[in-house]
């Protein structure tokens, strides 16, 4: 038998030869000193090349984490079946991944915390800015409360569920279940329903010219101060209660709003700011704020710096085209536009106009808290 070639030797060492061929090579190597030496050399080459190639594994990894993560995410999105497959430890050391996820978690936590802080600050600012706009819609509320509630909408449920929902959502997001209804031990209800409480507080507010009133959030009302309170109410007084059965007590977390009322002459609803723009009058930039008041009527408050305007003058009612453009556009074009003007303590001049009576404008002014 002639000597073995390198290819055959390597194939034999790699186990790539068939049984018969391998046996022949083995026999030849056992008999041929030269080929035995070459086999030994080949073994050394195989081992050395493997060791050299192992050194190639010392390369940087995860040097472009964002792009690679995006590529992996895209690949996994394209192949959902791979999503559940963990990466082998050999190619994705847990410590590194953990570090990356830790960073990611920290970043998410930072963003969430920042968002919450900003939201809270914004709410505080909003609350502060509207503290002066607190109103007492007590007459209307009394009127509403005196109307029998529909049989399928108990007062408490009406007071809490539809109206307080938007305001309570952030509370729920912060971990509080705003309206969780969970079975509680049979406890005698010791807290009045929100409707009862509302009526009592409304009555109290009516008596006091200036004081603190407490009422449940209304649709057009803005929270001045909120507190989160858990109360026990009869199950039958809530929708959830009816679902879960009569006679059981439910724990309801309700939002109670405390508002500071500053005037006895308050409008029935808070003017709702719908737009703010700026116009120029005589070279002076005037801020124009449009509010919607009761009945969908729009009134316009213009705020302008000096020069002077008659202080606290009440101008009757000539249709003022410039004002009517914005104030009465949504209402009857034949409505008479009334205007009241006054000057603030700092010299700022205010003009409030709208297709309502002067008394109504005064109430709007009081509700806005612009002095």
């Amino acid at each position: 038998m002639q000597h073995l070639d390198d290819g055959t030797i390597h194939a034999w060492l790699d186990g790539a030869l068939g049984t018969g061929e391998a046996a022949a090579v083995e026999a030849h190597v056992a008999a041929c000193r030269d080929c035995a030496d070459r086999v030994a050399e080949a073994r050394g080459l195989i081992a050395a090349s493997s060791r050299i190639l192992t050194a190639l594994d010392d390369v940087l990894a995860h040097v472009v984490p964002v792009e690679r993560a995006a590529a992996v995410a895209a690949a996994r999105a394209a192949a959902p079946a791979l999503a559940a497959v963990p990466a082998p430890a050999a190619t994705a050391p847990p410590a590194r991944w953990g570090h990356r996820y830790g960073r990611l978690a920290a970043a998410v936590a930072f963003v969430v915390a920042g968002t919450l802080i900003i939201t809270r600050e914004a709410n505080r600012h909003d609350v502060a800015s509207r503290r002066e706009m607190a109103h007492a819609g007590n007459e209307q509320r009394l009127q509403r409360d005196s109307t029998p509630a529909p049989s399928n909408a108990p007062a408490a449920a009406r007071a809490i569920a539809p109206e307080a929902a938007p305001a309570s959502a952030p509370v729920a997001a912060l971990g509080g279940a705003a309206r969780r209804a969970e079975p509680a031990p049979a406890v005698k209800p010791h807290v009045k329903s929100f409707a009862q409480e509302e009526r009592q507080q409304a009555a109290a507010a009516k008596k006091s010219v200036a004081g603190t009133t407490t009422r449940v959030l209304g649709q057009a009302e803005k929270p001045v101060d909120t507190s989160f309170r858990t109360t026990d109410v009869p199950a039958s007084s809530t929708l959830a209660g009816r679902r879960s059965g009569e006679g059981k007590s439910l724990r309801l977390d309700g939002l109670v709003v405390t508002a500071q009322s500053t005037s006895a002459t308050v409008p029935t609803t808070t003017p709702r700011l719908v737009s703010v723009d700026s116009v120029e009058r005589g070279g002076i930039a005037v801020r124009r704020q449009t509010y919607v008041i009761e009945g969908g009527t729009r009134v316009v408050l213009e705020v302008m710096p000096p020069p002077a305007v008659p202080n606290d003058s009440v101008a009757p009612a000539a249709p003022a085209a410039a004002h009517a453009d914005s104030a009465a556009a949504a209402d009857s074009s034949s409505a008479t536009i009334h205007i009241i003007r006054w000057r603030g303590a700092d010299g700022t001049r205010y003009t409030l106009s709208g297709p309502v009576s002067i008394d109504a404008l005064q109430r709007v002014r009081a509700a806005l808290g612009v002095k």
């Binding site: 080459l45 190639l53 190639l56 390369v59 995860h62 791979l82 559940a84 497959v85």
Partner: protein, 172 residues
């Protein structure tokens, strides 16, 4: 364990290692590996999974190299930009870093076919699979591997020799 998971568990590690050794860039290697498995999942049936996986990976690398040379430059740029955020797996010792650099140069000195055959053999591919992937005859694989191994070792030793000399000179 479904086919996707089995395929991934079986071949991902070796494929990434193979690609890393070939490319010298683990991020790129893992991207190519991911894309390979994505394509594998689109296949209804694979007759020879391992050969298919390595063939597709090789083609992807080739396509990448042809089509997107700028991408590597961009990756290098991003690597520099994100250098501060990089968490190294572990610092390489000077000796290991030198070994890695020499090995890279030695491997790069091989002919493409020899290099691929050697790298695939190191990942355990059979001669038949290597032949299928590289479109060679099975009988030629032994010769190819023998040549590749010998050249790799010789090249590596040749590259190490000056360093040994300088080290010995410094030591003396």
């Amino acid at each position: 364990m479904d086919d996707a998971e089995r395929l991934f568990r079986t071949y991902h590690g070796m494929l990434v290692r193979y690609l890393t050794r070939r490319l010298g860039d683990r991020d790129w290697a893992e991207e190519v590996a991911q894309e390979t498995f994505v394509r594998a999942l689109r296949q209804d049936h694979l007759t020879n999974e391992r050969a298919w996986v390595f063939t597709v990976a090789n083609n992807l690398v080739r396509d990448d190299a042809r089509r997107d040379a700028r991408r590597r430059a961009r990756l290098a740029l991003l690597r520099e930009e994100t250098q501060d955020d990089v968490v190294e797996p572990e610092p390489l010792s000077l000796e290991r870093a030198q070994d890695a650099a020499l090995a890279r140069r030695a491997v790069n000195a091989l002919a493409e076919r020899d290099r691929l055959a050697l790298l695939m053999r190191e990942e355990g591919l059979s001669y038949e699979e290597i032949a299928e992937t590289l479109h060679l005859s099975v009988g030629s694989i032994g010769t190819t591997l023998a040549r590749a191994r010998r050249r790799l070792v010789e090249q590596y030793e040749a590259l190490r020799e000056p360093q040994r000399g300088s080290t010995g000179h410094a030591a003396s």
